[in-house]
């Protein structure tokens, strides 16, 4: 499927995009005192480090050679002061940089999350959840890191090189000019190596996630593998992946193992130059032994800043790609949002009219064409029809998760786009086919229906649906945890909780997508009863699957390919002997058979060990 390709976990190299880079930098603006603080600390630290090397040289030239113990004392006092300052500086930059990084990440996550709450369903339909997750988690981390540690390391790198060069120039400018030649050489080697290491490293990481996926699939499908006696072949397929993984990781490791020796060798040429030229200069008196030592120190240390800067440079490219994706998310405009001057209304009760409604998810594929429907206040409308007929679309439009691409939907004679989203959603009750629960307690989940409900109101609602009895049987009753996604509860219990939410919300318009999954007979009858209670005197749209629900509806519409094929009461439609008739008779048989075996199960219910 082609649209997925855009969401591949791509780690492309973008050409350096200046605008995104500036926007990335602007994330630091609100925190500028922190930035200034850590830049000051790191600059001081790199200067102190360079100065200590210089002090080492003076130790030889001013104390050892002339045999001067006083010089030793004064140099060492300076040294001690600098060590204290250095330690303080190190503390300062780690603390400031680290905390700034956490702040930036915090800000980004908050901004993205809040923006996600505003985005429309069209965005969620196109965008896999996993993709969004990576933006909010790993991309924000990458951006935060490059802005803080990246900036820190490169500042340190630049300052270390600059201060090293300054001291070298001060000691002997001719030799300094020769030695500086290795800097561009180091840079080229560092970036070239980095490129190769990263290439193989990414390949390894991609292969690694395939390996993990392969493990997961093998474990989940182990029964099939065993039943098919396919172990050998499965292992063979896995072996292809592990071999690929070996190649990629080995190559990445090979290049990184070679990197340091290569850099050291270049440095050795620098040291060779110092020995040769510097040695010669000592004979003519323009260079001291301390000078030679200092030069060796500066040149040896030169490779570390370069190494760091090459790393930051590579990370920056990745971070810009991350930033682009994050900004694309935060720049996405919700399709459905309040029009200017949208009215806040207390009530949305009243007649609902779909007037010549057109709708498509993708331009070339219309789902509804010139769709018309009128629902009286308090009416229960059952929608039936095959998969893809447009049942969910009607509900999505009614909930204003989407808006019509043509025509209007009127609530009480008023185009619903003139009303604020909040007004509509606070008066809508929605019960989904697969109930979604959030981790937390049962009470938290029930209260989702109305956030300001008191404990008594929550219990009251639970009594209406009958879920109260089951909740009280739990060890911590309303405070029991439901687990991630409600895993600790059964399907039927989740459905009851989702119905209770709707009861608690006490909406003016109820929208239900009836669950198809089978539950035990007792729960089934509780669900039926709650639904009946909910539908009384409320305008209700229901995608119906069960006969009893369909039969109770005031009106049934049979949808096919986005059009109303048949419409009327149960009796009227049966008489037509059309689509509804054949649906009904088939449905009747299979549902009765299911009820049959469910009844048999209840009579001999016993735990099944294993699976």
């Amino acid at each position: 499927m082609s649209e997925y390709s855009t969401f591949e976990e791509e780690e492309f190299y973008t050409s350096f995009d200046g605008r995104t880079f500036l926007r990335l930098l602007s994330l630091m603006k609100p925190h500028w005192p922190w930035v200034a603080g850590f830049l000051f600390c790191i600059t001081s630290v790199s200067f102190i480090e360079a100065y200590l090397t210089f002090l080492g040289a003076r130790l030889i030239d001013e104390a050892i050679i002339p045999g001067n113990l006083d010089a030793l004392r004064s140099i060492m006092i300076q040294w001690a002061v600098l060590i204290v300052l250095l330690s303080a500086g190190v503390f300062g930059f780690i603390y400031l940089t680290g905390i700034l990084g956490q702040r930036i990440r915090y800000d980004l996550r908050k901004r993205l999350f809040n923006h996600l709450q505003d985005l429309s369903f069209s965005y969620y339909d196109k965008t896999p959840v996993g993709w969004i997750m990576s933006r909010v988690t790993s991309d924000t981390m990458r951006m935060g890191n490059v802005l803080t540690w990246g900036l820190l390391d490169s500042t340190w790198g630049i300052m270390a090189i600059i201060s090293g060069v300054i001291f070298m120039l001060a000691i002997n400018w001719q030799l300094a000019l020769v030695v500086i030649l290795i800097v561009p050489l180091l840079w080229i080697v560092a970036t070239e190596f980095r490129k190769r290491i990263i290439k193989y490293f990414r390949l390894a990481r991609r292969t690694n996630s395939q390996i993990t996926a392969n493990y997961a699939e093998m474990i989940q499908g182990v029964r099939v593998i065993k039943a098919m006696a396919r172990e050998e072949k499965t292992l063979g397929e896995f072996g292809v992946l592990t071999s690929r993984m070996y190649d990629a990781s080995y190559r990445a490791a090979w290049w990184s193992a070679l990197f340091l020796p290569a850099v050291q060798l270049i440095t050795a040429f620098g040291i060779g130059a110092i020995a040769w030229y510097g040695g010669w200069q000592t004979t003519v008196g323009t260079m001291t032994i301390g000078g030679i030592q200092a030069f060796v120190g500066y040149v040896t240390m030169m490779m570390f800043p370069i190494q760091e800067m090459a790393r930051v440079y590579a990370e920056l490219q990745q971070a810009i790609a991350s930033a682009e994706r994050v900004f694309s998310l935060s720049d996405a405009v919700p399709d459905v949002q309040d029009r200017s001057g949208a009215a806040e209304v207390e009530s949305i009760a009243g007649e609902i009219v779909f007037e010549n409604v057109n709708f498509h998810y993708e331009p070339q594929k219309p789902v509804l064409k010139q769709f018309n429907l009128r629902v009286a206040p308090g009416e229960t409308l059952a929608i039936v029809g095959p998969t893809g007929a447009g049942k969910s679309t009607i509900i999505n439009l009614m909930c204003r998760f989407y808006e019509p691409t043509g025509g209007r939907i009127l609530i009480n004679g008023r185009d619903y786009t003139e009303i604020s989203l909040h007004s509509i959603h606070s008066q809508l009750g929605i019960v989904l086919q697969t109930p979604h629960l959030f981790s937390g307690t049962i009470r938290d989940n029930l209260r989702y229906g109305r956030m300001d409900a008191t404990n008594e109101e929550v219990i009251e609602a639970a009594k209406v649906t009958g879920v109260h009895v089951f909740i009280m049987a739990l060890e911590e009753d309303y405070d029991s945890q439901v687990g991630e996604g409600g895993v600790l509860l059964s399907t039927g219990q989740k459905q009851l909780i989702s119905l209770t939410r709707a009861v608690l919300a006490d909406p003016e318009i109820l929208i239900m997508d009836e669950a198809t999954s089978s539950v035990d007979t007792l729960t089934e009858s509780l669900i039926q009863r709650s639904m009946d209670t909910l539908m009384v005197d409320r305008t209700t749209f229901i995608i119906a699957h069960r006969l009893s629900t369909i039969k109770k509806a005031d009106r049934i519409i049979v949808l096919n390919a986005g059009e109303i094929e048949e419409m009327g009461t149960h009796r009227e439609l049966l008489k037509l002997k059309g689509h509804y008739y054949s649906l009904y008779t088939k449905q009747f048989r299979s549902e009765a058979a299911a009820r049959e075996s469910a009844a048999a199960e209840v009579s001999t219910q016993q735990p099944v060990p294993g699976r």
Binding site: I60, L86, F113, A229, S249, T387, S590, S597
Partner: protein, 607 residues
Amino acid sequence: MATLANSRLVEYDLKQTLSQKPLQGLWRLATGYQLTYIVATAAMGLAALAKVATFFLLRFLIDDVLPMPNVLQVLPLVALAFVGVALLEGGFTFTGREMANRVAEKVTIRLREYLFDHLQRLNFTYHDSAKSGDLIQRSSSDVDMVRMFYAGQAIMLGRILLLFIVMLIALMTLNVQLALLSVIVVPPVVALSFFFFSRISTAYEAFQEQDGKLSTTLQENLNGVRVVKAFAAQGFEMNKFEDDNQEQYRRGKVLLFNHSISWPFTDFLIGAQTIFSYSLGVIFAINGTITPGTFVAFTGMFVWLVWPMRNIGRLIVEISMGLVSLDRVQEVLREERELLDDGVHQPGGDVRGEIVFENVSFEYEVDTPVLNDISFRVEPGQTVALLGSTGSGKTTLISLIPRFYDVEQGRILLDGVDLREYSREYLRQQIGVVEQEPFLFSRSIRDNIAYGVGREVTDEEVHEAARAAAVHEVIMSFPNQYETLVGERGVTLSGGQKQRVALARTLLKNPRILLLDDATSSVDTETESAIREALQNMMGDRTTFIIAHRIQSVMIADVILVFDQGRIVQRGTHDELMAVEGMYRQTYEMQARIEQDLEKELAHVGI
């Protein structure tokens, strides 16, 4: 067909490496590469020697070369020597790292493949109770931790220790007193770094834990976006996320604070040692105990003697984490496998398909029998239908035939031979199973259908199997037809479609014995008759076991077994069972009543 020996991949049985002592376990895991790893470590020692040579060369330059009369002729040679020594050091470093990494990757590939094979060969009882998330974590992140031990921590620790020893000895040849007085700081630095890194890793775990929680909150919000919007709960969700987000920020601060005090602490200590040692060196140089060149060499080596030591704490903490991972991997390796080739009876061709159950009883857990004294006989090519409520033991009975579980009481005979005398591999080649909720792999539909066949199949064969399973039309309606991927990245198949693909998969395998576990349960009404026809085609002359709820699906069977609580309560053909009072006739009558109800209702409406 020795499966283990056959495999090109799993060349070494890792069960031999199991050990109660974790370090011994790591050592044995590297069997075959141990010498390479020792050489790698030795190369690191040689690299340290080369580094020492650099500083001795510097000393030679200052003390001996510079005062020479022909200094200008000697200097180029010294410069060349610096490059030569660097080449040696680089060569040794590279060799050491390359070898260590090679061993790490070899051990990892061995571990990954063995673990994969091991997991798919563990028995059903193990997989019934194991949590898949946990197994995946053990085989991915825990294995990676073990890899890091060989690739990083062990060799780095070796390098640092060798560097320390070599540098210390070299310094002692220069001046014993100076050398020994320069390492005073090493024990406290090591102890402190260990102390700080234990704290940092605790803080890091807390940070990671919260990171997981934050991700969960986010994921739940994204998955439940309909509910959030439907209840206009955006504000509530923002607050919830805000709490988690702030907690994450707080834990990040704790982590960073620990980092920010640990580094300057050791910086300061080492700084103090530097002042002390350098002062001492200067005094020795002034009073002539050492030469200026020795002092220069000493200051250079001092750096390599002391600074690396502060990484030791981090390495020890990381190694201890790696050992925990190793233990988790070993736990899986200790489990017993299900042997595929343990049978002594190896028929030349296919089985005929005569199956006899003789007083078979079975329990998963002690004292909770699932099957109780089951006896019956099936002739080759016959169809047996199993009827009964959930939990009556039907699925368990079917699972015994391919030896998913072995019978402990009584016996099952296939063509007159006890099942346990056939190898599992042979049995499973002869038997096809279609499960109630079939599992499809995330690969193309074609590959899924051809999954169980141990040979290349033509498109024609695949299409034919799909046609017979009444799923060909559906597949052709997908944009990529047979190349359509199943699952997240492709199409989501409905329950009925999945079942039909699974049917096609089994059909293509062409087994002699067919086990159908409620294979039409999630098939929607429109395709049910097509499926029933497909099933009938499949049964042909194969011995077939079929579990079903609807009388229509079982009436054609040669033998119908009615189950209740692990026992056969009725047996016979449809006609025989209808002739007597009992569960079968009750079920039949109930289902017939449904039809009557429908007719009544339609009559009532007036059709």
